[in-house]
Amino acid sequence: MSEAYVPVEAGFGLEEGYLSLEDILMSQERLPCRAETALPRLAAVLGKAGAEPLGSVPEGTKLEIPLWLAKGLYDNKRRVISVELPKIYKESWRTVFTADANVVDLHKLGPFYYGFGSQLLNFDSPENAEIAQTILQTFIGRFRRIMDSSQNAYNEDTSALVARLDELERVLFRVGQKGLNDFQSWEMGQASQITASSLVQNYRKRKFTDLDS
C-alpha cells in the first residue's frame, strides 16, 4: 500500500530542494567562515557583541554561519565571506574515510554528510575534486552493508543498525525495509488484506480517536 503522504524530496548534488524539509534542515548546519569585509551593525546578531550591540564585525573575523547564509553571501563579484572546510571534509578525515568508511559514525559527524558535502562544492575550494571523490567512495564503501542489513533484518529492532547512518543512508535503509516487509506479506498471502490506514493507526496511538464521539 503506497502512502498518501509523500514529503518533498531532497535535492540532489549541487541543487537543493527548495521546499524539502530535509534540505532546509541540512542547510541549517554551520560551517566555518571568515569575514572578508567589515559587517557593520551585525555584532549582536553574530554573537560578537562587546560593548555596543550595533557594533561592526571587523574584517577577518572568524564566524560560524549556517550553510544557507554562506551560500547567499558567497559571491565572486563582491566577496563578503570566504569559506573554510569543516573538519570532517579536510585532508586528515578524508584519509580516515579512505581507510575504512564502514567504521565511521556518520550520524554523529553529520548527520548530513553526503548532502552537506555536495553543497560544499558550490564554493570553489581547490580541494573540491578530492572532497567529491571521497564522498563518492565513502558511499560506495558503505552501501553494500546498508543494503545487506536492510534486506535481512526482518521483524527485529533495527535501531542499532541505523544508529551510525547518515540521513541519506537512513532513507535508503527504510526503502529496503519496506521492500522486504511488502515481499514477506505477499509471500504469506496478506498482500490483498485491506488494512487500517497508518495515519489512522498513529492517531489512535495518541488517543485522538473521537471518530465515534
Partner: protein, 195 residues
C-alpha cells in the same frame, strides 16, 4: 542569528514525520513574519544611507536580505508540506475528518481542504462513463466481491446494497460487500479477516 524561529517551525513539522498533522503554529508564523518585517525596515533605512555614500553597509544589507529569503523559504515549505499532509487525509479518512484532526488546521487550510474535496468529487463524477468512479475504492486489486470483516468498535447500524440493515457491534463478524466496507476498514472500525 536570524531565521531561528523559522527553522523551529520546520523542525516541529519534521518531527511528526509519519505524515501526521501537528497543530497549526500560528504564533510561530507570526513571530517569523515579525522578524521579516523588522529585517525589511532595517534594510530600507540602510539602503537609503548606503545611497548617500556609506557603501560599506552593502554587505550588511545583503546579509539581512539572505535572512529574509531564508525566512520566506521556511514559511512556504512549512505551509506546502502541511497541504501535502492535509491532502493525504482526504485519501486516508474520506471526506469527513475527525474533530481532533480538524482542530489542528487553520481556517485557510480548512477552506483549502473543502475546495480540494469538491474538485476531487467533481472529477470522480466526470469519469467512469457517465456514472462516476470512486478512485479511493479498490486501492488494492480486489479478489472477491464479499469479504469477511470483524468489528473493532461499536459503530451502529449500517445499510448494505439490498436494503438490509445490520448492526455493527464490537467483536461481531460479518460477510459484507467489499466496496461497502473498504472505507470503514481504512478508518479502523472494521478489520479485514483473511480466510
Amino acid at each position: 542569528m536570524f531565521g531561528e524561529k523559522a527553522i523551529e517551525l520546520i523542525r516541529e513539522l519534521h518531527r511528526a514525520s509519519d505524515g501526521q498533522l501537528p497543530a497549526f503554529n500560528e504564533d510561530g508564523i507570526r513571530q517569523v513574519l515579525e522578524e521579516m518585517k523588522a529585517l525589511y525596515e532595517q534594510n530600507q533605512a540602510d539602503v537609503n544611507e548606503a545611497k548617500s555614500g556609506h557603501s560599506e553597509l552593502i554587505s550588511t544589507i545583503k546579509f539581512r536580505h539572505c535572512s529574509l529569503l531564508r525566512n520566506r523559504r521556511c514559511i512556504v515549505a512549512y505551509l506546502y508540506d502541511r497541504l501535502l499532509r492535509i491532502r493525504a487525509l482526504r485519501w486516508e479518512y474520506g471526506s469527513v475528518l475527525p474533530n481532533a484532526v480538524r482542530f489542528h488546521m487553520s481556517a485557510e487550510e480548512m477552506e483549502w481542504f473543502n475546495q480540494y474535496k469538491k474538485s476531487l468529487a467533481t472529477y470522480m463524477r466526470s469519469i467512469g462513463g457517465g456514472e462516476g468512479l470512486d478512485l479511493t475504492q479498490d486501492i488494492k486489486p480486489p479478489k472477491s466481491l464479499y469479504i469477511e470483516v470483524r468489528c473493532l468498535k461499536d459503530y451502529g447500524e449500517f445499510e448494505i446494497d439490498d436494503g438490509t440493515i445490520i448492526l455493527l457491534k464490537k467483536n461481531s463478524q460479518h460477510f459484507l460487500p467489499r466496496w461497502k466496507c473498504e472505507q470503514l476498514i481504512r478508518q479502523g472500525i472494521l478489520e479485514h479477516v483473511l480466510s
